[in-house]
Subunit: 356 residues, 2 copies
């Protein structure tokens, strides 16, 4: 593979010195881009786009043609894992993701297979290889998966949920069944992320979108435990470099503290915690990635510039910061706003780093 | 008016000694009760139910006939305030609340009237008087309003929102217009709550449902500031008793600290912060109300009993705790589950209080 020309992301995630703060954006390959919508239409449905390595590569690269991002992120979905475990993922118009079969009780968890990753998710590792080839070493490629807890919510609810009726009914009434589901998902997810790393992913991120709907004790038992098992089982060095691991619980707040003790390299932070406070909470044990309010991109260019500066000021001096939004970009955003954001990070961030 | 027979709630909110922990439940008059659904059907639409003092009184009292709650809460809606300001509230099936006119820019804010409360919201104070009469001093009546920020989100979005596109566009691009809107809403809301107090509300609560979607600096400027103005302007002693003020920002986390410094008497806490941690964060300056995960009511009776005990254990010894859910009860809950919860609070809580 080509030598990596821009390793700012990998260095920042390992808290090594950099000349400026690297930037990428959650959901950077997504619906806000007209070229994404065109490729998606060409593919047919969402999963066909994920399954086609050339088209998945195309949408992964699209934002890099427009913006000076310092990383690419694999185009895929967190629900490929339960699909590989036989639940039958489909997307119904207006309703989001659905499963043909859902997990209801302990017996269903026991019957769930631990699938062979190459057999069932080879389309993802194919996409990783294709994207790595196409990137030609310009920027690193981030692989990802959902956290066991977040993926479990979809498996037990049968799709998206508002009140988490079924999964909370299960975890409060039969916590051992929930433990078993999280453990099984952690195993499959670890294998899946390791396969992505072997195929060429240079950093990996675990998305725990729904961890914050749990009370603190339940968070430790059902969300953090799954991420801890993944951190413990991941390949941390590959192809001559460290492979940084990023955990992201949306709305983590003070839970950033226990997250930082898992042995991960970095934490994603949403916009509801200042990065200065997040550095305090985590005792600078890990790098931080974030955290501009994605809804700031609805505002004026000047407001966006001011918002970017607030985020960079809040982290302050020193290595260990990767600029990002605090959550995925909203689909209605005007693409020109993203350019304003990325350019401001480039212009304003060098002051926080010592000249190499 | 009749003398108050059960003042546990008022005493606990003022951090005075009690014999057991009082309990009530957000949305206790609501769709989970078949008798509520029947009265709602009789009234026609939701606002007709709010506007009819007898029917609003009926649904307020319904949960007290079933459960040993220690408080009644006025049946109304946080959006009566912008309706009184001329925005034209209506409820469309499946879409939730909507406004005929929305606030888009500074000029719209300037034009917004500060209405006379008795002229425009007399139906609410009527309901308060009717309910106080019907309660015959059995338990205290809680009045409430939405926080200026939370109400503003609906006024600027024109209804419910997912990403807060318009209000965040406004506050980031023209923060002074957002300041003006919050200030005007704080004035109207203060007048409105004072009118409820004069009509007989014995405690008041401000619901800041959407404060946690703001970054910390914006939270202080646009959410906390409005609640601070309300706390500063409220009648704090009426009819021979203190009138406790409760503030509730869902997902407040560490923001409980600055909330506790407003001079309010108590804070609502959702289930994502342990009450032990909340006591630490707030330095025991205020009483705490909460915080069982409402989704625990989907679980088994034994799991509910264990959950109630966890909440009471977490607060621990001493006065200053009001048991509640961490958010409103979900409409699908089996009413018998609420009985299990309330009975467990009664049985288990005396151990945390010194015998009077």
């Amino acid at each position: 593979m080509s030598e990596l020309k821009n390793d700012l992301l990998l260095r920042a995630l390992m808290r090594q010195p950099v000349s400026r703060t690297p930037a990428w954006m959650m959901r950077q390959a997504g619906r806000y881009l007209p070229e994404y919508r065109a490729t998606r239409a060409e593919a047919g449905d969402f999963m066909s786009l994920c399954r086609n390595a050339d088209l998945a590569c195309e949408v992964t690269l699209q934002p890099l043609r427009r913006y000076a991002f310092d990383a690419a992120i694999l185009f895929s979905d967190i629900l490929t894992v339960p699909d590989a475990m036989g639940l039958g993922l489909y997307f119904s118009a207006g309703e989001g993701p659905r499963f043909e079969r859902r997990i209801e009780r302990a017996a269903d968890v026991e019957k769930l297979p631990v699938p062979d990753v190459e057999d069932t998710l080879g389309y993802v590792t194919n996409a990783v290889r294709t994207i790595r080839g196409a990137l030609e070493g310009s920027v690193p490629l981030i692989g990802f998966a959902g956290s066991p807890w977040t993926v479990a919510t979809y498996m037990v609810e049968g799709g998206s949920s508002k009140n988490y009726e079924n999964i909370k009914g299960l975890l409060y009434s039969d916590p051992k069944a929930a433990d078993a589901l999280i453990a099984k998902l952690a195993t499959v997810t670890t294998n899946y992320l390791n396969a992505q790393i072997r195929a060429g992913a240079q950093a990996v991120m675990v998305f725990d979108t729904w961890g914050s709907v749990l009370e603190p004790e339940a968070y430790r038992r059902f969300s953090l435990s799954g991420m801890q098992a993944i951190v413990d089982g991941l390949i941390r060095h590959h192809d001559g470099r460290d492979v940084p691991v990023v955990l992201f619980t949306k709305g983590a707040g003070t839970r950033l503290n226990i997250m930082s003790e898992t042995g991960c390299d970095a934490l994603g932070v949403d916009w509801t915690t200042d990065l200065a406070e997040a550095r305090e909470i985590t005792g600078d044990r890990v790098a931080l990635q974030g955290n501009m309010d994605p809804s700031l991109l609805y505002a004026s260019d000047d407001a966006i510039r001011a918002g970017v500066k607030r985020v960079l000021d809040s982290y302050g001096d020193g290595p260990g910061h990767v600029f990002n939004l605090g959550h995925g970009i909203h689909p209605e955003i005007d693409p020109s706003k993203v350019g304003v954001m990325v350019d401001t990070v480039r212009e304003y961030s060098p002051r926080f780093h010592s000249p190499g």
